[in-house]
Symmetry: C2
Subunit: 499 residues, 2 copies
């Protein structure tokens, strides 16, 4: 008896978010859609995460229109999105009425599977979204953010899974955003969930490839009973991205498990994105190969580059090592939150502040909110002294309740504000876009009719890495520069001299 393992393809969302700073244009995805639709995936992740933000901020694309296009182009596929629970796709908590409308509209525009997570694993921040998804008759996937800390054990993750099942989730996702999930842990957690919650509870596993071990983790998760794993087509895989779809398929050969995907489709999807990816060279992540330091620092790659650029702005690049040491201390003070958007940025920025200005001498308002419970309940005890400093600096008390319970109905105000903006089309979708990113949405509405901005570049026009055996000097043809010489500016064409 061979068990079929389902696959979620990440190429259209997390893969280009992780590898190409979420800059891929819809036009570069559409030619692959027919094959993606026929390949036999369990679902196609294509929306949510940072794609909504990137659409309106960089690409001048309407994210709702993108979703409707996917619905049309992928008629046989389950469309899947990543949803930050009560944060939706923004960076604050929304009142339940906004959550309801967002989920309703996403479902109405074609979304099938909602992967709902909370950065603190606070189930109260997930509950309302899950209920809204179920009310729409769609698939609600409750998500456990995997992290490593003295407080996070197999038991804590299994317990969370149990509570997500109680909430009515249709499946559980074990989400390893930082590639920290080692093979044995993957086995133990998945096995634990299946044992506690029953074999009938679907378990999906999402990993990144950054540390190089997680394809093995997927194998172990499958052996423990995982039903579906996330991968990205090989030409959009690895580095800070994900394990390659084709490798997953081949890995299972003869093991008693199989991924029933159409290899001819995979081949064409691979070739398509192999041609597309170089167009986004300018946005490509610096991480090539693997980085296992993350196991010790537990600092995800994206967080490191954020902290580096913050230090650079302060001309303090040399203090990165100190920040690396400070991050785990800040994280412990905050009760060991998983490091994922937005907690990763909040903890990272505070660690930079602490190194540059002294520990908690200056506290970001976000970090104060994190300490005081305004993002939800931390996994562990928070440091009482730091909490007191947060209360003093933020001039507000710590809270215990679900953060969204403090919010008053806000839909009408959002609607009034959004529809007053030039270019707003008055739809609920536009109001939701405004709700997520008020400033950016205002700009987007005003120039939406100019159509998409394409940020890719013809790879022929960009520099290629040197081929084996050729000269490694990068500039080989004449280049035109403005050259200042003796105080005068000249426009000259120059050719480098080979040493």
């Amino acid at each position: 008896m061979t068990k079929t393992i389902d696959i979620t393809e990440l190429a259209l969302r997390d893969a280009h978010q992780s590898l190409l700073a979420t800059r891929m244009a819809l036009d570069d995805m559409l030619p692959a859609c027919a094959d993606i639709d026929q390949a036999g995936y369990w679902s196609v992740e294509c929306w949510g995460g940072a794609t909504f933000d990137a659409c309106i901020r960089f690409l001048n694309e309407d994210p709702w229109e993108r979703l409707r296009t996917f619905r049309t182009m992928l008629p046989n596929s389950r469309l899947q999105m990543l949803l930050r629970g009560q944060n939706l796709l923004g960076y604050r908590h929304y009142e339940d009425g906004v959550v309801d409308r967002f989920v309703d509209k996403a479902a109405e525009n074609g979304m099938d599977v909602f992967r709902v997570f909370d950065a603190l694993n606070d189930i109260r921040n997930i509950r309302h979204s899950v209920q809204a998804v179920r009310r729409n008759g769609k698939h609600a996937q409750g998500t456990i953010c995997y992290t490593v800390s003295p407080l996070h054990t197999t038991e804590t993750f299994v317990e969370m899974a149990e509570r997500l099942v109680e909430l009515g989730c249709d499946s559980i996702c074990l989400k390893d955003m930082a590639a920290l999930l080692k093979p044995q842990a993957a086995y133990d957690v998945v096995k634990g969930i299946k044992t506690r919650c029953g074999d009938g509870v679907r378990v999906h596993v999402h990993t990144h490839a950054t540390t190089g071990v997680t394809l093995v983790s997927l194998m172990k998760a499958i052996e423990a009973g995982a039903d579906c794993v996330d991968t990205a087509i090989s030409s959009m895989s690895l580095g800070p991205g994900h394990n390659p779809t084709e490798s997953l398929v081949e890995m299972l050969d003869g093991t008693g498990y199989q991924a029933k995907l159409n290899k001819a489709c995979l081949h064409r999807i691979k070739n398509h994105f192999a041609a597309v990816r170089p167009r986004y060279q300018a946005f490509m992540s610096n991480i090539i190969g693997v980085e296992t330091d993350i196991f010790d620092s537990q600092i995800p790659g994206g967080m490191i580059s954020n902290m580096e650029s913050q230090l650079k702005q302060q001309k303090a690049e040399d203090r990165l090592e100190e920040v690396f040491i400070e991050v785990p201390r800040v994280r412990e003070d905050a009760g060991f939150p998983p490091l994922v958007t937005p907690s990763s940025q909040i903890v990272g920025t505070q660690a930079v502040f602490n190194v540059l200005m002294g520990r908690y001498k200056v506290m970001s308002s976000e970090f104060a909110d994190l300490m005081l419970g305004y993002y939800g309940k931390a996994p562990g005890e928070r440091d009482p002294e730091v909490m007191a400093m947060a209360e003093a600096q933020a001039h507000k008390p710590a809270i215990e309740q679900r953060p969204a319970d403090l919010l008053k109905p806000e839909w009408d105000a959002l609607q009034t504000a959004a529809t007053a903006l030039p270019g707003c089309n008055g739809s609920q979708e536009d109001v939701l876009t405004y709700a997520m990113f008020p400033q950016v949405a205002a700009g987007f509405f005003g120039k939406r009719d100019q159509g998409p901005i394409y940020l890719g570049r013809d790879p022929q026009a960009t520099d290629k890495p040197s081929a084996a055996g050729t000269d490694s000097t990068s500039v080989r043809s004449p280049v035109t520069y403005d050259v200042k010489l003796n105080g005068r500016s000249h426009r000259v064409s120059v050719t480098p001299i080979n040493p």
Copy 2:
């Protein structure tokens, strides 16, 4: 009870052979040697394969001197080499007396572990080398070349292991040079060997990373009882190279297996090669990420680039697909040899000939030799018609005996020829260098005293890939050029204008 898994580090041999066309200078390895020596590896592969050839052909380094330097710099380490059985490090069969002298001298200069293989898995081509290694009191590792064909089953590999053990090998290596070894096959073969030959027989597993699945294969091999696996430090890993050492270490966490390596040493080795690798950008393999097509074509990456360049020379680049279809037919005609040096080149070249000139209209002399048994016994039946054509074209009969049995003692002639060359120092090592590569050795002897040729380049002088979010123009900092302006030459520093 946690079982310790031994590790062979490949950075100093196969890693730079696979990733950087074997061009790394000894000087770029030496600063890492103290840490490599202290890291706790079972062995350090550092010699043999293509390194001998590359030393005298490209680097003007004496390979024997390189070996002696490693011996000095790695006093606590087992030094390991890859030896092509009766071919030694050359491309023809040598008479047993030459094999004896080569092994004696390698042992005398510091080699500890000899990994001996034959491209056809013909044990008769391995036997004499193994005996020579044992006579020297060194570690003889008998090697099985893993391949995929209708004839190659778990049973055939296990049977070969049994015969290698009978030969007196101290350990068995399962060598997967094309990254075709899938997890279940790795488990089955290793388990089969351990069951048949006894748990006490050491099994080492060597894989490449090209297809993306082989770290999982190493996990399965370990679960089946493998004692030692080959990896390369992360900054010299992946692509057509090997799985990263640090990922292997982390992968085992909590599994009941452990690799007892010193993480601080690994970290410094990684940082060293991370700085060195970009110097060899010009020689870097084009394969980045993974390539799973190999599972269908069974054509290793290096063979594809060879065939591409052959077609290019004939202005027939468009016929590569036909060659891909022809390779498996040629391989079947030849009795399904594994595709590894030199059989991979021989089969690939003949496939190109067949496509360009008609099937076997022209036969390379090497392919005729392969068909007629002059490389040894093929795994399966050869096509009788093609054999007849080979006999007709090569004007010699098919043979059944061990090819080296046809050879007369040749040492004296080699010695006479070598010592007559200007620059030959008269040592047996020089005679062996000449024996391996007569033409190249002649040139090398003549210019040896000029010292090493360093083929790396300061990475500051080469282009770096653009960082995320920045402009894709490759040159961002001022560069100094000689600029001719109005007939006069100026040395100026210029900065590009961002568009």
